[in-house]
């Protein structure tokens, strides 16, 4: 299996979030030959959704996703402010032509230990967003997060769990498959097959470092960790995924401290050699 060429890559803006604003990310992606971008909403709103959409189009970039909707459990029950914010996220995803709206669904509400309740709130929330998203022509991609984030970020933590939700909610909803979150899962191969082309809506790359020094911000550059990325990419592609390979690296201890053009150059090199 040959590696990835830059035009097959997308930059998730979190990877250089400390260095570049969205305009710089767009310009950097174009300059380094990337095929696309995946903005976070804070950077998108800072630039303005319409100007950003225009700049992305003008640069000839695809949009592999918009990060992120979800967070349904923020106040315990599903509240209208959260629903409304997710509707705005759908509108933004439509405006920039994102392949999907990536959902980080939320974990336990402050002070709660009731995981079954959180699961119920999340599913109710996803149903409301999905209904709105179908009308807007936007795909909704649940991102199962690593189980170490079950309490404070997302209580959907495996592909099986995400696909069970998708089965219940029907068309228009699928998964964003992030190597960091799912690589360990003995069911991964079977669940990717179950997901199929329609429901593998995104594929995110980074690596799992040993040791991992921080639960959130110590993700590795592809090739620096233990994930068999070529195997995982092979599985995703064998099941029909043909979208951009989105690079999303949270790295307070390393990559966020480097010059962004250096980061981009290393991504290009590792796409070729480690993916």
């Amino acid at each position: 299996m040959s590696g990835l060429e830059p035009h097959q890559l997308s930059l998730n803006t979190a990877t250089v979030r400390e260095q570049w604003n969205l305009a710089q990310c767009i310009e950097g992606c174009a300059r380094h030959g990337f095929g696309g971008i995946s903005p976070w909403r804070d950077k998108l709103q800072e630039m303005g959704v319409k100007p950003a959409a225009k700049a992305i189009r003008d640069a000839g970039l695809g949009v592999s996703g918009l990060c992120r909707g979800g967070w349904y459990t923020a106040t315990g029950a599903l509240d209208q402010a959260v629903i409304d914010d997710n509707h705005r996220a759908v509108d933004e995803a439509a405006e920039i032509g994102a392949d999907c709206l990536v959902m980080v669904v939320g974990g336990l509400a402050e002070g709660s230990r009731d995981l079954p309740h959180a699961w119920a709130v999340v599913e109710e929330g996803l149903a409301t967003t999905l209904e709105y998203a179908r009308k807007a022509g936007v795909k909704v991609a649940i991102e199962p997060l690593h189980p170490m984030y079950a309490a404070d970020r997302a209580c959907v933590n495996t592909m099986r769990q995400a696909l069970d939700i998708c089965d219940r909610l029907g068309p228009g909803i699928g998964c964003a498959v992030d190597a960091y979150h799912v690589w360990w899962d003995p069911e991964l191969e079977a669940q990717l097959k179950r997901a199929g082309k329609e429901r593998i809506m995104g594929f995110h790359l980074c690596d799992w470092l040993v040791p991992t020094r921080d639960l959130l911000t110590d993700r590795g550059m592809m090739g620096d960790g233990v994930i068999d990325l070529p195997r995982l990419r092979g599985l995703v592609e064998a099941n029909g995924f043909s979208g951009l390979n989105e690079v999303e690296i949270f790295s307070a201890l390393d990559w966020w401290r480097r010059d962004a053009d250096e980061v981009m150059a290393v991504i290009v090199e590792r796409g070729r050699t480690a993916c």
Copy 2:
């Protein structure tokens, strides 16, 4: 559901590993009214297996487990030194009358990214240990570790995965259910039911802190985190588990720094109020 009384508790010696040797742990358990103890092998060997076995019996303590066998992937392939060491662990478990030998199966070998290979080595290793353990009358308990340890400690990370292995290997092997490792799993309830009385061989208590500051040594005292321990204990007991409730807290930042008798007193209090 009422809380736990001290005679229902067992002390995993890791909880006070920085403060007490095994003789002190045994004496401390007896003094605080614990029903049992679960030694780690380093502390057991330091005291001597026979003297330790006698001291535990003389103190009237049960032995909820011996920590730990496994680590099959240490050198990549399954090697004889690892097999032999696991046989010694079985002998030690028999000598101290442990309810089970707890298995931390091992993760990826140094430099490897081949998770399917690690799974195969682990299963082969478990089969060899199980054969030996059956003759010795020792139960083998796979401890599925949290997925964040898949790379460097254990590549068996869910109850489903552990029970699939148990199904293939037959009688005498089951699971040690540790709240810290499994609390997030949406399949937990179904898999505990699947496991049943015969295969729930141990139940370990601690708590998941938010935030968690270190992947290995920042586990919480029961009640200080987000795990619904009464619900989990209810599930374990509803499926037939009637053994000791083993408290195992790795806490370099907090509990390992406190006076061990204070730790024991807090465990007794939290057993009553948070479990």
